[in-house]
């Protein structure tokens, strides 16, 4: 890190003092250029994430969850074009800054873990060295202390015998252990925001529980915030403070987790819950969501769920459609909520 760029006043702490949320995504609209036309992947996506909170971003594949995360991390594909919107981190608009200035922020203040940790790790580099790489790039830890710090990072994610595991290669570790290493890497520079993109997909249910408990414990210990991207509504319900439901590039509903699962207001949220095996008492009670995700290369009506919605009425197709506030922390993108 160059001469105390942001360390003097930790930006997250400074922001908290002013009541600014840690992360605000504000009317983010972006599309992808494809041979078949422009895919309107995100439309007016907005949410906030406060310090020490876990926000679940839930939806089917193709709904725009990962694209949103990639936009925050500046990992978007060349074909992506951000049309409008802001991504404010501690009040700073990330999209308005120069890339090089932001590189420092992302990585140290914002870290990300991916699904399939085994492929995300370097296959022939000792995991301890991979953690040191992060420390070298994103922290002021002097070279002589990096090994010690890396072992501490492994210890923090409850890896038994961390000094020995420091020497291990990814193929010598189980999938759950690899994900812990990924988390250790992500946390080694003490980020204030962790983006976890399907962190337990492909892991056993027992390992999943251990990893999710760990993430929750780390949030409580450090006050870090987590944006948890998942297709598993039951898991989001157990671990998240708030849930934002995405459908076809829209955030259709945002609410406290328990409220969203108990009293969903958007018809899509309700359908998603009814299609989740964890919530169904019997196979008869399990209900599929009618229709498919719309083709986002085509012009879309204001409500992108309208063609799948049983409650669709003529005024649903009247623009503009804005999110309605149902409660203090409950937003829904629907003219006729449940």
């Amino acid at each position: 890190m160059k001469a105390g760029l942001m360390r003097a006043t930790h930006p997250a702490e400074a922001a908290a003092a002013h009541g600014v949320p840690l992360l605000e995504v504000d009317r983010l609209t972006l599309d992808f250029a494809t041979r078949g036309g422009r895919v309107k992947a995100l439309d007016q996506v907005g949410f906030t994430l406060d310090r020490g909170q876990i926000l679940g971003l839930v939806g089917e594949s193709g709904s725009g969850k990962s694209v949103t995360a990639f936009a925050i991390m500046d990992l978007l594909d060349q074909a992506a074009r951000i049309e409008t919107g802001q991504i404010r981190f501690t009040g700073i608009d990330l999209l308005a800054r120069k890339r090089r200035a932001l590189k420092e922020l992302r990585g140290r203040e914002i870290a990300m873990i991916f699904q399939s940790p085994r492929t995300a790790l370097h296959p022939i580099r000792k995991v301890g060295h991979q953690i040191e790489d992060v420390l070298r790039a994103h922290s002021s830890v002097p070279p002589g202390l990096r090994r010690q710090k890396a072992i501490e990072a492994l210890e923090r994610v409850r890896i038994p015998d961390p000094a020995r595991r420091y020497e291990a290669y990814p193929f010598e570790l189980s999938g759950g252990m690899c994900q812990r290493v990924m988390i250790a890497m992500a946390l080694s520079a003490d980020p204030s925001l962790l983006i976890a993109d399907e962190p337990t997909t492909g892991l056993d249910v027992t390992t999943q529980a251990v990893i999710m408990d760990l993430i929750r414990d780390l949030v409580r210990e450090s006050g870090m915030s987590v944006l948890l991207i998942t297709h598993d509504l039951a898991m989001a319900g157990e671990y998240c403070d708030r849930i934002a439901v995405m459908h076809a590039g829209h955030i259709v509903e945002t609410a406290p987790a328990h409220l969203l699962l108990r009293e969903p207001a958007h018809p899509y949220s309700a359908k998603l819950i009814a299609a989740t095996p964890a919530k169904a008492a019997s196979i008869e009670a399990l209900a599929a969501i009618p229709g498919n995700l719309p083709d986002l290369r085509q012009p879309q009506p204001p409500c992108r769920f309208s063609t799948r919605c049983e409650r669709h009425r003529p005024d649903c197709d009247q623009p503009p459609l804005d999110a309605a506030r149902l409660g203090q922390d409950h937003l829904v993108l629907c003219r006729h909520p449940l």
Partner: protein
């Protein structure tokens, strides 16, 4: 259900030789007893590496058992070499639906070709006209329009491919369908459709299911009986409602406690630490769960518990199954 089970396995075992200086035997499936009744739906659960997929493949006779008996409709099929089995009438009677419909469909075959292929191979007596009629019939059963017949897998969605995988398997009218994680690659909305389709097909066609899954909720919805495996051994089996409400083996308890549940917010169920011990040359005297088990006594390290009845149709392999009654599930 008639008296004789559709399929019964006795001491079914599958070992694999593994390398290393001393060499060793990987106990993938270790003396498993299992019976599947006519029309019954059984869920086979456990962590990855516990041997559930190997057991499914041995039961489907895609790979021969190392030891033990495998009887299907009264015939000891375990003795038939798998080359010869491929042309036996029993081959059509046991069919398999594989995990990833994208990987398991031949990309060069159309939907029609993929469904015709097993009919031609396994029902050689069937006329071309009858075979064509059968294709239309099963497409209808799985809810695919006939217009899809000339399409190739890459022109289909994941859910449509899953339907083709099911259509292909049921085209030869099996009595037993072995499903290896058939919905794990699908989105939740598509999964719901396929699960309902599978439940519907079973009642309509009277098939038996062996449903291999890591998703306990799916097993709860689709199966009547559940079999829990740990390191090659069946450690608990019984009716679904009973096992889910009153699991007796400490591993089953941990497995159920790990299933995400919003109602369990902010509680701290005990978690399983560590990973399973090695399946290579395990000590035959030691309980496979010993070392990871929260109970684990000296007795568990000296005397491997066998499956024993603990209630109606409820079997468990734990010395301390009765004593855990007071523990929260």
């Amino acid at each position: 259900m008639s008296d004789a089970p559709l399929l019964s396995a006795l001491g079914l075992t599958k070992f694999f030789k593994v390398g290393g200086r001393e060499g060793g035997l990987l106990h993938a499936v270790d003396h498993v007893d299992l019976s599947i009744g006519r029309g019954e739906s059984i869920g086979l659960v456990g962590e990855s590496g516990c041997g559930k997929s190997t057991l499914a493949r041995v039961l489907a006779h895609l790979t021969p058992p190392s030891a033990g008996q495998l009887r299907f409709e009264g015939v000891d099929i375990g003795q038939i070499p798998e080359r010869r089995f491929a042309s036996r009438p029993e081959r059509a009677r046991i069919q398999m639906v594989f995990q990833d419909p994208t990987e398991s469909l031949n990309p060069h075959l159309t939907v029609e070709g993929a469904i015709l292929d097993p009919i031609r191979r396994l029902l050689p007596g069937m006329s071309a006209a009858n075979a064509a009629a059968r294709v239309d019939e099963v497409l209808d059963l799985v809810g695919l329009p006939l217009a899809f017949k000339p399409r190739y897998p890459h022109q289909l969605s994941g859910g449509q491919r899953a339907r083709v995988g099911i259509a292909r398997a049921i085209a030869v009218e099996p009595a037993l369908l072995i499903l290896d994680e058939p919905t794990s690659a699908l989105d939740v909305s598509v999964q719901a459709v396929i699960l309902k389709l599978l439940a519907d097909l079973r009642t309509r066609l009277g098939m038996s299911y062996l449903f291999v899954s890591h998703d306990l909720n799916v097993v709860r919805l689709l199966c009547q009986r559940v079999v829990v495996m740990y390191l090659g051994k069946v450690i608990e089996s019984g009716p679904v409602e009973r096992i889910f409400a009153h699991p007796r083996h400490p591993y089953t308890r941990a497995l159920l406690a790990a299933v995400p549940d919003p109602a369990r917010r902010d509680t701290r169920p005990p978690r399983l630490a560590g990973s399973p011990s090695s399946p290579v040359n395990p000590d035959p005297r030691v309980c496979r769960f010993y070392g990871r088990c929260p109970i684990g006594t000296e007795r568990c390290a000296e005397d491997m518990p066998n499956l024993r009845p603990i209630g109606a149709e409820h079997l468990v392999a734990c010395h301390y199954a009765e004593q855990q009654k007071g523990l929260a599930a």
